[in-house]
C-alpha cells in the first residue's frame, strides 16, 4: 500500500533465517506491510470474489441458491463445505480482507508520521551543481541578482510552490545576500493518498458494522391486506448478530391497491411500465393513518427503515364449496409468476375435519390462450384471465406439524381426481365455476387481486460508508493528478556585461516519465521572471 517504503522493506524476498520470536514477528510484520504482499492480497481478494458471482449466494438470492444445489448435487456438497453459498462471510474471504486491512493500516500509520514531519520540514537545500540535475536551465536577466531572486520567488509562489530562502555557500559568491531558493510543491498528493486509504478503512468498518446491526425482512402482501412490522409477520428475515426485534419501528402498513401496468404495444410490448402501491401507513399503533404511494425506485421511509416493492404477482380469488354447497374456502391465493407473461402457478389447500382434504394445483394465465402445448399467457396484463386447475383428494399433511410451502402441494397421501381415465382438468374463465368429479364439491374463480413482496430493511452505517466513499474519491484525485516536485534557484552575476545569470533546476519526486512537462514548468518560471524584469 505504500509508495515510499525504505528499500529493505519492499525488496527483501529472502525467507526467514533463524530468528528469535520478536525478530520473527518483526520480519512477519515487515512482510505483511510490504507492497509485494499487499499486491498479492489485492489479487487474492479479486480472485476470491469470483466464486460468489458464479454460485448463487444465499443472502442475495436464497431460491436461486437452492435451485443451483438441486441441479448440481455433486458440486453442491463441496460448495457447501467451502462455504461457496455464503462466500462473502466465509472465514477465508474475511481473512483475506482483514489481512489486507491490517497491511494497509500498518503501512499507512508510519506514513502519516512521515508526512506530518515532511509538511513541517523546509524544502531540501539546493544540490551543489544545479546544472547536473535532470531538468535545468540558465537565463541571463538584465537586473540586479537580488531583484531576480525575488522575482523568481514570486514566480514560484504563484505556481503554488512552498519557497524557502536558504543560506548558500555557492550563492554567496554572486549575490549580496548569499541566498538561494529551495522550493517544493505537491504535498497534497501524499495527503490525498493517505486520506484515500484511511477512507477505505472507514468504508470497510461501516460495512462491517452495518452487517452487525442491519436487517432485511420480506413479506408478501395481497392487495387489501396489510402487516404490522414485527419479525413474526415476515416470510423471511436476515439480520446481523446485534439486531433485536426491538430495533424494528412499530409501524403498520396496509396495501390498499397495487397496480401493475404493462406496455400495451410497441417493441417493448408486455414489459412492465408501472408498478405502484397505494398504502396506508400507521407510524405507531394508534397514530393517524397516512396515505402514500410506494414505487419501484422510490421506497417508503419510516424512521430510517426503508420499505421497497420487490416482485409482484397475481392472486386469483378462489372459492371452494362442499358437496352440499357450503363454502369451505374463499380467499385470494398468491400465485408465483413463472415467466415474463406472468404465467403463474399456485395451489389451494382446503383442509377438512371429517372429509378428505381437497388440494387444487393451478396455473393462472392473465391473458390466456389455448396453444398447441396447452394453455399459455401471451400478455402479463389482465386481458383474459384463465385459471387452469387439477384436483387432488386425501391428506394434505397439514396436521403433521412440518412446515410446508404454500406454493407446493404434497401429494404423497393424496389421489388425483379423474374424469374417466383422464386426470380431471378444468380451465375456468373469470366468474365461472365447475363441479369437481366424484361429488367432491365445486370450485369457482371469482376475481383477481394483485400481491406484492415488500422488503423492509435498514442498512446501518450507510451514511458513514458514503462519507468514506466520498472522502476516498476526494483523496484519489490529488493522489493521481498532483505531482510532487522540487525546484531550486540560484543567481550569480555574469561579470563581462553585468547581467544576472538565473539557474533553475527541477526534480520530480516520483518520476513521471514525462520529462517535457518538468522542462515546461522551469521555462514558465524563467519566462515569468524575464517578463517581470524586462
Amino acid at each position: 500500500m505504500t509508495q515510499t517504503l525504505p528499500p529493505q522493506q519492499s525488496e527483501t524476498p529472502t525467507g526467514p533465517p533463524s530468528m528469535s520470536p520478536p525478530e520473527l514477528a518483526r520480519w512477519f510484520w515487515r512482510q505483511l506491510t510490504s507492497m509485494r504482499v499487499a499486491l498479492f492480497l489485492l489479487f487474492l481478494l479479486a480472485v476470491a470474489a469470483v466464486p460468489g458471482s458464479v454460485v448463487p449466494q444465499r443472502e442475495a438470492n436464497p431460491l436461486a441458491a437452492l435451485d443451483w444445489a438441486e441441479r448440481n448435487p455433486g458440486l453442491a456438497t463441496w460448495a457447501e463445505r467451502l462455504g461457496l453459498f455464503d462466500v462473502y462471510s466465509t472465514p477465508w474471504f474475511s481473512a483475506i480482507y482483514l489481512l489486507l486491512m491490517v497491511s494497509l493500516v500498518g503501512c499507512i500509520i508510519p506514513r502519516i508520521g512521515l508526512h506530518w514531519r515532511a509538511l513541517r520540514a523546509r524544502p531540501p537545500a539546493p544540490p551543489s551543481r544545479l546544472t547536473r540535475m535532470p531538468a535545468h536551465l540558465e537565463r541571463a536577466v538584465p537586473a540586479d541578482p537580488d531583484v531576480v531572486l525575488e522575482a523568481a520567488e514570486r514566480a514560484l509562489r504563484s505556481r503554488r510552490f512552498r519557497v524557502d530562502r536558504v543560506d548558500d555557500q555557492r550563492a554567496a559568491a554572486g549575490t549580496s545576500s548569499g541566498v538561494a531558493l529551495a522550493a517544493e510543491r505537491g504535498y497534497l498528493k501524499e495527503t490525498g493518498n493517505l486520506m484515500f486509504h484511511l477512507a477505505l478503512v472507514v468504508v470497510l468498518v461501516s460495512v462491517a458494522a452495518g452487517g452487525l446491526f442491519g436487517y432485511r425482512g420480506t413479506v408478501l402482501v395481497v392487495e387489501g391486506d396489510g402487516f404490522a412490522n414485527s419479525p413474526i409477520q415476515y416470510d423471511g428475515l436476515t439480520a446481523g448478530a446485534r439486531f433485536t426485534a426491538a430495533d424494528l419501528p412499530p409501524f403498520a402498513l396496509t396495501v390498499d391497491e397495487f397496480v401493475m401496468e404493462f406496455e400495451p404495444d410497441g417493441p417493448a410490448m408486455g414489459s412492465p411500465s408501472n408498478f405502484e402501491a397505494a398504502v396506508t401507513l400507521e407510524r405507531t399503533p394508534g397514530a393517524p393513518p397516512e396515505q402514500t404511494t410506494v414505487r419501484v425506485n422510490s421506497p417508503l421511509e419510516v424512521d430510517g427503515t426503508l420499505v421497497h416493492l420487490l416482485n409482484p404477482g397475481y392472486a386469483p380469488q378462489v372459492t371452494v364449496r362442499g358437496p352440499d354447497g357450503d363454502v369451505l374456502f374463499s380467499q385470494p391465493v398468491p400465485f408465483l409468476p413463472q415467466d415474463s407473461s406472468f404465467t403463474s402457478t399456485g395451489v389451494v389447500k382446503v383442509p377438512q375435519a371429517d372429509q378428505p382434504d381437497i388440494g387444487l394445483q393451478g396455473i393462472f394465465l392473465p391473458t390466456g390462450v389455448i396453444a398447441e402445448n396447452g394453455p399459455e399467457s401471451i400478455f402479463p396484463g389482465l386481458g383474459n384471465p384463465v385459471l387452469v386447475l387439477t384436483a387432488w383428494q386425501g391428506d394434505l399433511g397439514l396436521d403433521d406439524g412440518v412446515a410446508q410451502s404454500i406454493y407446493r402441494l404434497d401429494t404423497t397421501d393424496m389421489t388425483q381426481l379423474t374424469t374417466g381415465d383422464e386426470p380431471f382438468r378444468a380451465a375456468l374463465d373469470l366468474g365461472s365455476s365447475i363441479e369437481l368429479p366424484d361429488g367432491a364439491g365445486s370450485v369457482s374463480f371469482d376475481g383477481v387481486s394483485t400481491w406484492v413482496n415488500l422488503q423492509v430493511s435498514r442498512n446501518s452505517g450507510k451514511e458513514l460508508a458514503l462519507l468514506g466513499a466520498v472522502l476516498a474519491i476526494a483523496g484519489l484525485l490529488p493522489t493521481l493528478f498532483v505531482r510532487r516536485r522540487r525546484c531550486w534557484v540560484r543567481v550569480h552575476t555574469q561579470h563581462p556585461d553585468g547581467a544576472t545569470v538565473l539557474t533553475i533546476a527541477g526534480l520530480d519526486r516520483v518520476a513521471s516519465g514525462d520529462a517535457g512537462e518538468l522542462d515546461e514548468e522551469l521555462a514558465a518560471v524563467a519566462a515569468a521572471v524575464e517578463e517581470e524584469l524586462s
Partner: protein, 319 residues
C-alpha cells in the same frame, strides 16, 4: 419528427458511422503501411495550437498546410477526417436513439455499446490533442468498429421505454460514469497492448519493420496508458459508489454482491493493483502492463459476460 422516425434514423446513423469508420480503419492502416515513418512532435504541437476548441477543429488542424518539418501521408488526413465524421454521425445516432426511447440512451447493452464507442472516440480525439497517439489510431478504430459491430449484430434491440426499475436519475449518473470510465480504460488497454508489443520487440532487438519502428517508445506508451487509466480510475470509483447509492434506493441495500456489483469491485481491485504495481520496484513495466490487461478483461467480462452468463439484478437490460 416522431418516435419511429427517430428510431429509424438512429439505426441509419449508427450503420453509417460504422461504414465511415471502416474507411477510417483502412486509411489508418494504409498510413501505417505506406505513410512516412518520420513523425515529429512539432506537428502534433502545431495541431494543438490550431485546434483550440471542440473536436472538429482537429480536422482543421489536419487540413491546415502541413509544415515542412512534418511530413504526413494523405492517408492520415483521410483517417482523421473520417474518424471525426464517424464520431459526429454516431453521436447523432446516440442522441436520436435517446429521442426515440424518450430517455437517456443507455438502458440496455446495445445502447451502452454505442454510447461507449462514441465516448471512446471522443476521449481518444481529446487525448490526441495532448499526446502523439498517431500509431494507436488504427487499433483504437479497430476496437470502435468491433464494439459498434457487436452492438448492431448481437446486442441490438428496438428502442423502448425503460422498465420501472431503471427509471431513476441515478441511471444517468451511474451509467454515464461507468461508460466514460470504460472508454478511458479501453484506450488504456490499446496503449498497454502496444507497450507489450514494443517491449517484446525491444527485448528481442527487433528494430526494423514498419509496424514496430513506428510505435512510440515504451516510455511513451507506458506513460499514455498510465495517464488514461489514472483518468478512468476515479471515474470508475465514482460509478461504483453511484451504483451503490442507487441500489440503496432501488433494492434497499447499497451492496448485495450481485454479480455485476461483484465484478465491478473485481475490476476496481485489479486496476488498484495496477496503480500500486506501477509505483513498486520490480513490478513496473511489463508486469504492471499485464495487470492492466487483466483488469481490462474483467471489465469486458463484467459488461458482456455477467449479463449473459449469470442471472442477477442487472440482467433486465436485455442482452
Amino acid at each position: 419528427m416522431n418516435v419511429e422516425d427517430a428510431a429509424y434514423l438512429s439505426n441509419v446513423f449508427v450503420d453509417a458511422a460504422m461504414i465511415v469508420w471502416a474507411v477510417t480503419l483502412a486509411a489508418f492502416a494504409a498510413d501505417l503501411a505506406f505513410g512516412s515513418p518520420v513523425r515529429t512532435t512539432t506537428r502534433v504541437r502545431a495541431e494543438v495550437a490550431v485546434g483550440s476548441g471542440g473536436v472538429d477543429e482537429v480536422v482543421v488542424g489536419d487540413d491546415a498546410p502541413e509544415g515542412a518539418s512534418a511530413p504526413t501521408s494523405r492517408w492520415w488526413g483521410v483517417g482523421m477526417g473520417t474518424l471525426v465524421l464517424g464520431t459526429v454521425i454516431l453521436g447523432a445516432g446516440v442522441v436520436l436513439r435517446g429521442i426515440a426511447a424518450g430517455r437517456v440512451p443507455w438502458g440496455n447493452m446495445y445502447e451502452f455499446a454505442i454510447t461507449g464507442a462514441f465516448l471512446v472516440a471522443v476521449a481518444f480525439l481529446l487525448f490526441m490533442r495532448r499526446y502523439d497517439l498517431r500509431t494507436f489510431a488504427v487499433w483504437v478504430t479497430g476496437v470502435l468498429l468491433l464494439t459498434v459491430g457487436l452492438a448492431v449484430t448481437v446486442l441490438y434491440i428496438p428502442a423502448a421505454p425503460l422498465v420501472p426499475a431503471l427509471r431513476s436519475p441515478w441511471l444517468v449518473i451511474h451509467v454515464a460514469a461507468a461508460t466514460l470510465a470504460a472508454a478511458f480504460f479501453t484506450i488504456g488497454m490499446v496503449a498497454t497492448a502496444l507497450y507489450l508489443v514494443r517491449d517484446v520487440a525491444d527485448r528481442r532487438g527487433v528494430t526494423g519493420g514498419r509496424f514496430v519502428s513506428r510505435l512510440p517508445d515504451t516510455a511513451t506508451l507506458d506513460r499514455v496508458s498510465y495517464r488514461v487509466i489514472a483518468f478512468g480510475f476515479p471515474i470508475w470509483t465514482f460509478a461504483v459508489v453511484a451504483g451503490a447509492i442507487w441500489a440503496e434506493y432501488a433494492w434497499g441495500r447499497y451492496w448485495g454482491w450481485d454479480p455485476k456489483e461483484t465484478w465491478s469491485l473485481i475490476t476496481w481491485i485489479v486496476y488498484a493493483a495496477y496503480l500500486h504495481a506501477r509505483t513498486t520496484a520490480g513490478w513496473r513495466g511489463r508486469r504492471a502492463a499485464i495487470i492492466s490487461l487483466v483488469a481490462y478483461s474483467t471489465l469486458i467480462f463484467n459488461f458482456f459476460g455477467v449479463n449473459i452468463v449469470f442471472v442477477g439484478l442487472h440482467s433486465y437490460g436485455g442482452v
